[in-house]
Structures are given as C-alpha cells and as structure tokens.
C-alpha cells in the first residue's frame, strides 16, 4: 500500500520543568494515502491538531518529541533541518489554518500574498504569476477573481477568506493539505460550500487531505477514512462508513449518539463525564471512566489497537461488535406545561438599530431615515414555561434580540412587555430589581462569562446577595445547592474558572442564571462553544431545570438539529426579519420558507452517504435590502420583481407562519420534489 505520510508510534508532550514529562500524544501510528481525505476527529484537547501539525514536522512551543517518527514521502520530518523543512512546508505539504482571517496578512492584497507563495515554491517567471493567481482564485470558486486579487483580507467575508487561504495553499502545488478545522467558524451554508470545494479539489487534482475537525457531520461529508482521537490516543481508525455507520469503540458510539438528530424531537443521550486531564502516566483505558461497558481490565491495563473481524481498527479490550447497540434514543422532550397559554413575554413591532443618528439628522427630524435596522418588525409572544428557539446565520440579529430584551441596547421602535402588563424599560438600569431578577441570561462562551479571578463560590453568591440579600454564609450554602442542581459537587466552590473544563464552566454559568430564580432565561448559543459529548448533557440539564422551575427559554442557536431537540416553537430569522415561525414539528416539515429550506439542507448529519445540494449562494450580506423580502438576494426560489419591491405577506401553513410571496401550495409542491 502506497503511503504519503506515515506516523510511526509518535509521542509528543510537554517537557515540563517542575512536573514529570506529560505526553499529549501517545504512540500514534497513522498513514495518509495519496488521493484520500483522512478525517481526524476528536474533542478539544484530544491532540488532533498536534497530530496534523506534527505531520509537517511542527510542534507548538513548549512541546517536545518524546518518540516515534513522522515520515513524509520517505523523509523523516523531525530529522530535517530548517532549510529542508522550509522547502517542504507550504510547498509539498501545506497547512490551511482554522481562522483564515487571522492567518492572512492584513496589509497585503490577496494577490500579493499568493504571489509570494508562488515565488517561494514554484519556478514560475514573475510575469506569469498574476495569471496563475487568477487561475487559483477561480479554482477555489471565488466570483470575479480579478477583483478579489486586488482586495485586502478585511474586505472579504469569512468564507471568502477561507477560500483564499486554500488557494494560497494550492499555489505551492501541494501533495498533502492539512486542514485544521477549516470550516469551524463559518456559517452552515458557507461550510457546505467549502466542504464541496475541498472534496472536488481532492478528486480533480489528486491532492491528499487531512481534515481535522470536532464536527462529525463535516467529517462524514468529506472523508474517505476517519481516525478518532481521544486524550492523545488513537481510539478507532477505519473507513468513514465503518466508523460512522457501524462504530466499534464505545467512545465513537457515544459521540454519535450524543449528536442531536434532525429526525427526532428528543434530547440526545449524553456521554457521562468529561475527558481526562493530562497526566504523566496512564495505566488504563483512557476512556474507561466514561465507558458504559467498563470491566475491571479496563481500569488496570491499556488496551491495544487491534482489528476485529469485519471492523475498523479499534483500541478496546473487547470485541465491541458484541456490545449491545444502545437502543436508547435519548429522552423524549417533556410535554409542554399546563400554563402554556399564559403570556410571559410579548414583543410588538420591535426594531433595533446599532446606528446612532448624527446631530444633523436629529435636528432635522430625520432620525430614522438613514439608519440600518438590524432587527425590524419583530413581533412574537413567549408563553410561560415554553421554549422558543431563534435560528439564523451569523449576522441575522439573533443575539441582538436577546440584548434588547435584557436592556443592553434600546430598541428604536416597538414595545416589550413581560407578564402581560408590565412594559419593559428599554435600559437595564431603569428596570426594577425584580424585573432584572426575572430575566437572566446564559452566555455562549463560558470562558469569558465567568470572571477568571473569582472563585465559583463568589461567582454564584453575587446574584444571591444582590437579589435575596443573603448573608455570605447563607449564600455559600445556597451556592452549593445550586451546584448540585447542575450536577456538580460542592468541591467546586473553592475553585476558579480556569480549573474547570468547558462543560463544567457552562454548568456554573447556568447555575448563576438560575440562582436568581428567573421566569425567563435567555440562552445565547449556549452549546456551540462546547465539545460534542458535553453539549447533550447541557441540553438535558436545561430541560431538567425547565421542568423543575417552569422557566421559559428564548434559545438562540445556529444549529437546527440542536433546536429540534429542545424547542417548542421555532423562529427563523434572516437579516433581523422573521422568515418563519411556528411549532417545531411544523417548521421541520415542508412547506418551508426558502431560507429555512436552505438551512435544512446545510445541516451536516454524520451520515457518509448524505448528499448535499445546497442551492443558495454563500455570499454574506451586510445590510438588509431597502424594500421587499429580506432574503431576495440569495433566494433560490425567487419569483421576480415582487420580491424586490413588496414585503412578503404572512401565510399560515399547517400551524406555522411563513413570510413569502410564493403561494403555500406551490412551496409545498416545489419542496416535495
């Protein structure tokens, strides 16, 4: 078997001064063949990026090679000197980093950056470079490559920047592309386009790719083979249909079941526990503490990597084909509470703008003329104990709505009422303490929502002391109760946030919100910064707390599958305008709004056979159009002039409301095909 890259028993770690040397990768043996796309999957801290980078002989500062080899095309990368490495890197073996926006030089045009790469790695005469750059840019399917060539990175959208980074990598005529989470920060529709592009590039030019990702859906869509990493060890390696359809390792299985699915309105089964912290030695199966099939041997001996009959390579003591396949499909969502129809929050014709009118337009009374309304005509009612999910791509104004509700940005039009009667003041400071207590917010990124200099006890007792006038000791008692309600123990009280894992931090964030005993909790992408295996547990926790406290959620997310699992009703937002709103079961069935349809098609489920057919373009609009339908520019089912001129009417379709010019029966017909 021909192999392009061969990792042989590679071990890499921290040669720490104080502590014992701590391995990050333990004995990784892995091949990359020409012409294939190898997916590297793992949670944060599993070492997947370290594996990819070591393929080009690179180790992050602070890391050292403990043993083993990385061989690229019969050359041992760690034996090469600087010159030798420089000749290969960026040429035959090339990295496409996670955030292209950060890796492109902001002061140089795209064209010049790519030319630089051409000058270094090809013997192209300078006169021909310009043309080659244009070719490369059109190869990555950028519209009007001549124009893009003369632009600076900040003038491009995230998806376009990523394409430019890929073009730059292709400039060195690579044989292997290392892609480190290339689609992670991108919108779902853009992500699908990039994956398609990569796949076609591999087929057309025969360049091998190593695709590093935490997202099984993306990996399933693109990879020929998949390697699953956990805590620095290779857990499973096989073809993508083996791994994704018939996984052998309990961890892979757990990962797959913990992903929310589009076809069922249930919260997926969470993998218990958290990944292990780094330690110097390991004398057991790394996954044993979280494994449901754990036996005594798992705790005493490290399992070998072996290949059971008709299955993938797997690191497990048991022939896991014999494990019963979990028939558990996750807990069904509890039926909506009885007080369902009591109105809790009512938004009427809300309009929000980040522009502040200038002095002149205020004097002339033309305040509203020029400003861009980030959110407009937003009206909906949230009932007690209900969950409404707000779905849309980045820039759709999802978080803006939450910020308006908590009073961080005053709306320029419309009204907000809570509990039916009390009109909400626009600014937090003007609201009563009771009102602030009732509305709590849970943030996306637990790293920045918890003060790094405070202990968990201080973090949790701040709202208790503020709202309930508790004494310090009383507050700490209550804080440990809260910790238990989010399934943490009171040992956490004395720790600071940096001693917690991402999932644990998010639990503390949730506990802090629930310390106030709110009636409305605003969840801003609460699972999207978390590892896959932990996301399900957080969803489950939110659902449990809702059952116990009868709290209503306004749940902002970009992930339709997650929304399906937790929401009662869904609101699809584009450019701050409602496209579709209705009960979750109705929204997830045709007829869709064309935008909902596009979002549905862009969802990546971990199914290697799925074919994507996203029809809408992935351009990014910065401002909503002046008139007509907000989605007119990208709509794949645009009817004509009317879309540009008239705001679409509301149509009621089997329980949900769609804002579109196309007749509902016609929509149904179109989408049924």
């Amino acid at each position: 078997m021909e192999r392009l890259i061969h990792l042989d028993d590679l071990s890499v770690g921290i040669e720490a001064g104080v502590a014992a040397p701590t391995p990050i990768l333990r004995g990784i043996t892995l091949d990359v063949q020409p012409n294939e796309i190898l997916g590297l999957v793992g949670e944060s801290g599993s070492g997947k990026s370290t594996v990819a980078l070591s393929m080009m002989g690179y180790l992050a500062p602070g890391l050292e090679l403990f043993g083993g080899e990385a061989i690229f095309d019969n050359v041992s990368m760690f034996d090469l000197d600087r010159k030798g490495l420089e000749a290969l890197r960026g040429g035959e073996i090339c990295l496409v980093p996670q955030n292209a926006g950060h890796s492109l030089t902001p002061t140089m045009t795209i064209g010049r950056q790519i030319e630089e790469s051409l000058a270094l790695h090809t013997d192209l005469p300078p006169a021909d470079r310009k043309k080659t750059v244009t070719d490369l840019l059109s190869q990555v399917r950028l519209p009007s490559p001549e124009q893009i060539r003369d632009r600076h990175p900040h003038e491009l959208s995230g998806g376009q920047q990523q394409r430019c980074a890929i073009a730059m990598a292709l400039a060195g005529r690579p044989r292997v592309l290392l892609l480190d989470e290339p689609t992670t920060g991108l919108d779902v529709t853009t992500q699908v386009h990039i994956l398609e592009l990569l796949k076609d590039l591999c087929r057309a030019s025969g360049v091998a790719m190593v695709f590093v990702s935490h997202d099984l859906g993306a990996v399933a869509r693109i990879s020929d083979r998949v390697a699953v990493l956990y805590a620095g060890e290779l857990m499973e390696l096989g073809t993508s249909s083996e791994i994704l359809k018939n996984p052998s390792h309990p961890y892979t299985r757990g990962l797959l079941t913990s992903i929310p699915k589009m076809d069922g309105a249930r919260i997926p089964e969470a993998l218990p526990g958290y990944p292990p912290r780094l330690s110097a030695t390991r004398s057991a199966c790394a996954f044993a503490p979280r494994c449901a099939h754990r036996k005594e041997i798992c705790l005493n001996e490290s399992p070998p990597l072996h290949r059971p009959a008709n299955a993938s390579m797997v690191r497990c003591h048991f022939d896991s084909g014999n494990f019963p396949h979990s028939s558990y499909q996750g807990a069904p969502r509890p039926p909506a509470a009885d007080n369902q129809m009591q109105k809790l929050l009512e938004l009427q014709d809300l309009a929000i703008s980040y522009d502040r009118p200038g002095l002149l337009s205020r004097l002339t009374g033309q305040e509203d003329k020029q400003r861009v309304l980030t959110v407009n005509n937003l009206s909906f009612v949230l009932n007690k104990g209900e969950t409404i999910a707000v779905v849309g791509e980045s820039g759709s104004g999802k978080s803006t709505i939450l910020r308006a509700i908590v009073g961080l940005i005053p709306p320029c039009n419309g009204s907000m009422r809570i509990e039916g009667e009390e009109a909400l003041d626009c600014i937090t400071e003007a609201r009563s303490l009771q009102c602030k207590k009732d509305i709590q917010m849970i943030f996306q990124n637990p790293d920045s929502s918890l003060n790094p200099r405070k202990t968990i006890a201080e973090i949790l007792s701040a709202p208790l002391q503020l709202y309930f006038d508790m004494e310090r000791t009383e507050a700490i008692d209550k804080a440990s109760e809260l910790l238990e309600s989010v399934r943490l123990t009171r040992d956490y009280l004395g720790r600071t946030p940096d001693q917690l894992s991402g999932g644990e931090k998010q639990r503390v964030g949730i506990a802090r919100a629930f310390a106030a005993q709110p009636i409305l909790a605003l969840c801003d992408e609460v699972t999207s910064a978390l590892d896959v295996s932990v996301q399900a547990a957080v969803l489950e926790l939110l659902s449990k707390l809702q059952k116990e406290n009868g709290v209503a959620y306004l749940f902002v997310s970009h992930d339709l599958a997650t929304v399906r699992a937790i929401a009662d009703r869904v609101l699809v937002l584009y450019q701050g305008r409602i496209c579709e709103i209705g009960p979750v079961d109705a929204v997830y069935k045709p007829a869709f709004h064309p935008y909902t349809e596009a979002l549905m098609e862009a969802v990546l489920e971990p199914d290697p056979d799925a074919q994507s057919h996203v029809e809408i373009s992935d351009i990014v609009e910065t401002a909503p159009p002046d008139s007509g339908c907000p989605f007119q520019l990208r709509c794949q089912r645009k009817v004509g002039k009317i879309c540009n001129e008239v705001a679409p009417p509301a149509q009621s379709v089997s329980g949900h409301t769609i804002f579109c010019h196309i007749d509902r029966d016609r929509l149904f017909q179109l989408q049924d095909e």
Binding site: T184, S449, N451, P452, L466
Partner: protein
C-alpha cells in the same frame, strides 16, 4: 464555535492547584521573579537600597551633618572610605543615608498615583462614551505639559517641601496611570462577565471593584513600579536644581549638585551618590519588567 480549540497552553495544564491563599500567590510570583536573572538582579538592588535606607543611621560612621574644615575634599582613605566633600563631611555616611528621603516620598507618591489613577482609569474604561472622551482630552492636555518643568513651577510657588511634593508627584503620575488603566479596562469591559454583572443589575461600584480591578491589578502593579522609578529620577532632579531636599539633609540629587564644582579635583563626592541613585533606578526598572512577566505567567492562576 471553537469546540475544537487548537492551542494547548502547556502552562494551563501544568500547574494544577486549588483555592490558594493570598500569601501563596505572592510567593509564587516572587519565586518566578527570582528565577529570572533580570528579576533576581532587580529585586536584589531594590531590597538592598530599601534595607540600606532603614539601617543607614545605625551603620553610618559619622554624623551626616558633621562638617570638618580640616578634612575638605579628601580622597578615599580608611577613615573615609568614599572621601569627604567640600565641607569636610563623610561621603560614605551621606551616600548611604542619602536615599532615605527620596525613597520615602516617591514610594508614597507612587502608591497614591497608582491608586487614584487606576481607579479613575478603570472607571473611564468601563463608562466610556462622552464622559470618557472629555476626561481623556483633559488627560491629553495634562500630558502635553513637560512634567519636570511643571513640577519646578509648582515647587517654586509652594516653596517645595514634602507636603507640596507628594501631592504634585502623585497627581501628575496618576494621570499617566489613568491612560494605562483605561486602556486595559477597555479590554476587560467587553467581557461577558461584565455584561452579566450589568444585566444582573449590579452597580458600577461593584463592577469596578469586584469584577474589573482584580483582573487589572497586575497591570497596575507594574505601572506602580514604573512610576516609582520615574519619580525617583524626578525627585533627584529637583534636588539637583535646589527645589527638592533642603540642605543639610543628605540626598543624592543634592550631593551631586554640591559636588559639581569640584568634580575635577574630587570626583568621589559626586560619583558615589550617582552610582547609588542609578543602581536603584535600574533595579526598579528590572524588577518591574520581571514582575510584569511573572504576573502574566500567573495570570490564569489568580495571584491574590
């Protein structure tokens, strides 16, 4: 959306620890400072000068004000290891005592400057908007004034002395601290935990003192050390010009000034105080540098 974070920061994993006392935090930072050559030298110089200032009067062989007309401008000898000055005073006794007054004044002024400048700066960073804009233009205006010249002006009005110097020094240096504090606070003010506190309904005082200052104390500490060194220089310059310490108090700036007429015949009377002054200032600067690095390493752990 960064579930697959790529940067494994070794330090983050290598130092596990649970709820440390304040003392343990200080010890960790001190150990880190000493482990760097720059920090060890800096800390040694600072501690040396501070100790000397405390014990100087016990080890000084002569009275610092004692004049002796028979022993004018004598070269260093066993009786006078650093020689004598134009009034026959012992240079050794005067040099080791000479840092006392300037260290006390500048240390107090630096603490006051860091406190008021820090609190005002952090508040401005949090509040933002027009108030911030207005105050920062005011700060710009003050910073445009040549510091030493303005000090001279004030001192010549008030006649100098400790009671005029401490407020003046701390006021002007506090203004520089405002700049630093505000810049750093702007970075913290956009964090979600500040938003969370605002949305919860905590007042500005809680947010500034409980949420922000703990995250900025390292920057302010380093700034305090930098201000201290700057003030040492400013105070000595004032003394040199005759507006700082008043004779016959031994003071480095004053001693250098007194010796300048005789520098060609009796260089020892000026060189020794100059060496002492510059080693202290170098020491403070090195210490501040290492302190900044040590606090940055310890940042994720929480020092105090």
């Amino acid at each position: 959306m960064i579930a697959g974070g790529t940067s494994a920061n070794p330090v983050e994993y290598a130092l596990p620890g649970s709820g440390r006392s304040r003392f343990a935090g200080i010890m960790i930072v001190l150990r880190d400072i000493i482990s760097r050559p720059v920090g060890a030298i800096g800390l040694f110089l600072v501690v040396f000068h501070l100790l000397l200032a405390v014990i100087a009067s016990f080890i000084a062989p002569y009275d610092v004000a004692l004049q002796n007309a028979d022993r004018i401008l004598q070269a260093p000898s066993w009786a006078h290891p650093m020689g004598t000055d134009s009034l026959g005073r012992d240079v050794f006794s005067r040099t080791i005592t000479g840092g006392r007054i300037s260290i006390i004044i500048t240390l107090i002024s630096a603490v006051i400057a860091a406190l008021w400048g820090g609190i005002v700066g952090v508040s401005l960073g949090l509040v933002g908007g027009r108030i911030d804009e207005f105050c920062m233009r005011l700060v710009d205006a003050f910073l445009a004034i040549p510091g030493l010249l303005f000090l001279l002006l004030i001192v010549s009005f008030t006649g100098g002395g400790v009671y005029a110097l401490i407020p003046t020094l701390s006021f002007f240096n506090g203004i520089s601290v405002i700049r630093i504090g505000r810049g750093a606070a702007q970075g913290v003010a956009v964090k979600d935990y500040i938003t969370a506190a605002r949305v919860r309904g905590h007042g500005s005082r809680f947010i500034i003192f409980q949420e922000m200052l703990p995250n900025l104390q390292d920057i302010l500490l380093v700034e305090w050390a930098m201000r201290w060194s700057w003030m040492m220089l400013a105070f000595s310059s004032l003394s040199f010009l005759g507006f700082g310490a008043t004779p016959p108090t031994p003071d480095w700036g004053l001693m250098i000034s007194d010796s300048r007429e005789f520098l060609t015949v009796a260089p020892w009377a000026g060189i020794w105080p100059a060496i002492f002054l510059s080693t202290l200032i170098i020491g403070i600067n090195l210490f501040a540098d290492a302190l900044g690095k040590a606090l940055r390493v310890d940042r994720q752990q929480g020092v105090f």
